[in-house]
């Protein structure tokens, strides 16, 4: 932090309060101190829509490269998320995005995603009650992710455990837990072994998977880059589709008029998905480092300042959205920034999530489980601010 904290608004935030519900604090920050230094994080939080978009788009001023890597670096290493520019970033991204683009999704992955959803729902249909978090959203996201990565023979539960190991260690939440790092490194070793197995299978024998696309590129990544980028894909490709699925389901189950509307007009599934992304963004923030002097939201920033663009807050900005705390699939307004506020780090999995959740999983869920409803005797707990979503979702239906 080279800008003096005394020259910049400083706020103290309690991570436990943020975990429980960050939105009231974000509203306060947007109103009073839209660019504020948080000593506990050592970062400036940027909370208004307009400023988040500016930070996201101008990568020459707000660089993805930080001179002191975060805790995730110890497990994951350096990924495409911490590079800028055409040669360093876009080259890596191009190798990875092949299975995540609309045509590959339509021609190859959508039938796979559909079969994965159908298999889980067929198993559930006779039960009449379930936890949508543990019994549907989590295994579905894991099965879809394993499919497009190219992880054959890796079970959903295995991938879920690896993802949790990587995120718990890399997320920096629970650094006082000695077991966290041990489980994180074990998860990393598991991912490396599975990646090697997939790479051996597809080398010279391409398939539509991400690992095949990387391995068979004319100038492939180094093995370390491959492992790191597969780990970041697991870290960003399992919990997020899970959370947006659950958030969208919750939004519809608590707004019967909107559920009726989307049942009557299936084109509204797309809007349902986008509104869920806006309402409770599965990834709440992204990080950048200031590369040259600039003024943002009335605050002067200096090279080296570390900033966090809070997309979860931007997506509730009352300057941009009417009644921002309300879930409304009919909402008008600009695009949400849950996939990032635009620019080169626009979510690489955006189209895969739109297809697997918006086009496939949500309609399948409501079609296959008649009269789906929240369990009236149990709560839906929510948690998180870096990542956020329902932590369980007990439901019933007419079996």
């Amino acid at each position: 932090m080279t800008a003096s904290p005394t020259a910049t608004p400083t706020v103290d935030l309690d991570p436990m309060v943020l975990f429980a519900d960050p939105y009231p604090l974000y509203a306060q920050l947007r109103r009073d101190t839209p660019v504020a230094y948080v000593p506990a994080m050592g970062r400036l939080l940027v909370t208004r829509y307009e400023d988040v978009v500016t930070v996201s788009r101008d990568w020459e001023t707000f660089s993805a490269r930080e001179d002191t890597p975060g805790p995730e670096h110890k497990i994951i290493g350096e990924t495409l998320m911490s590079f800028d520019g055409e040669e360093d970033h876009l080259r890596l991204r191009r190798m990875m995005d092949a299975p995540l683009k609309p045509r590959a999704l339509r021609e190859h992955w959508e039938p796979v995603f559909r079969a994965n959803a159908a298999a889980l729902l067929d198993d559930l249909a006779g039960r009449g009650e379930a936890d949508l978090f543990a019994d549907f959203a989590t295994p579905l996201a894991a099965m879809n992710l394993a499919s497009f990565l190219g992880f054959e023979g890796v079970s959903a539960q295995q991938l879920i455990d690896w993802c949790k190991g990587i995120i718990d260690a890399g997320g920096g939440y629970m650094l006082d837990d000695a077991g966290i790092w041990e489980r994180g490194f074990a998860a990393r070793d598991g991912v490396i072994a599975a990646t090697d197995a997939a790479a051996d299978r597809v080398r010279g024998n391409p398939d539509p998977s991400m690992i095949s696309s990387i391995i068979n590129s004319p100038e492939p990544m180094t093995p370390q880059q491959l492992y790191s980028n597969i780990m970041i894909t697991i870290g960003g490709g399992l919990n997020e589709p899970r959370d947006v699925l659950l958030t969208a389901a919750y939004g519809l189950l608590t707004n019967p008029d909107q559920l009726a509307a989307v049942r009557a007009e299936p084109s509204l599934w797309k809007k349902t998905f986008e509104e869920a992304c806006r309402w409770v963004s599965p990834i709440g923030m992204f990080i950048r480092q200031v590369a040259r002097p600039v003024e943002l939201g009335g605050v002067r920033l200096q090279p080296g300042d570390k900033i966090t663009g809070v997309v979860a807050s931007a997506n509730r900005d009352e300057r941009v959205y009417a009644d921002p705390d309300v879930f409304d699939i009919h909402r008008k307004g600009p695009s949400h920034v849950a996939f990032g506020g635009g620019g080169p780090h626009f979510c690489i999995g955006a189209w895969a999530a739109r297809a697997s959740i918006g086009t496939i999983a949500l309609p399948a869920l409501f079609d296959r489980l008649p009269n789906l409803r929240l369990d009236p005797e149990r709560e839906v707990p929510w948690g998180g601010f870096v990542f956020r979503g329902p932590l369980a979702m007990p439901v019933r239906w007419d079996a």
Binding site: R93, K101, R103, S335, G340, G342, G343, F346, A350, W351
Partner: protein, 107 residues
């Protein structure tokens, strides 16, 4: 310095003097031309910089590449013969006065 003319859905014209070698998308974003969101900043991942090249200027740009065709399949607005992703349209002095129309649904 080539000039780019953006025609908005309501018929308003916005004229921008562009540096040679820059894209129609980049100049729209730099000048706050509404309706060209360009979420992915030119990575060919989002399809939110869709424009219609004016029929009078058809043929002045190189044809669409395959990856541009792919993203045009998922635009919000109707795709026409003249549809392009403006991130793929680079201007130079031979393209002075080039005119593009911003689709209604994106505006």
């Amino acid at each position: 310095m080539p000039r780019i003319v953006y025609v908005l859905p309501d018929g308003t014209r916005r004229e921008v003097d562009a540096a040679a070698g820059t894209s129609v998308m980049k100049n729209a974003v730099l000048n706050d031309v509404p309706g060209i969101t360009a979420e992915c900043g030119g990575s060919l991942m989002c399809a939110t910089c869709h424009v219609y090249v004016d029929p009078a200027d058809a043929g002045r740009f190189p044809p669409r590449a395959d990856d541009e065709e792919e993203m045009l399949e998922v635009t919000e607005a109707e795709v026409r013969e003249t549809s392009r992703l403006s991130c793929q349209l680079t201007v130079d002095d031979t393209l002075d006065g080039i005119t593009v129309h911003v689709p209604e649904e994106d505006a």
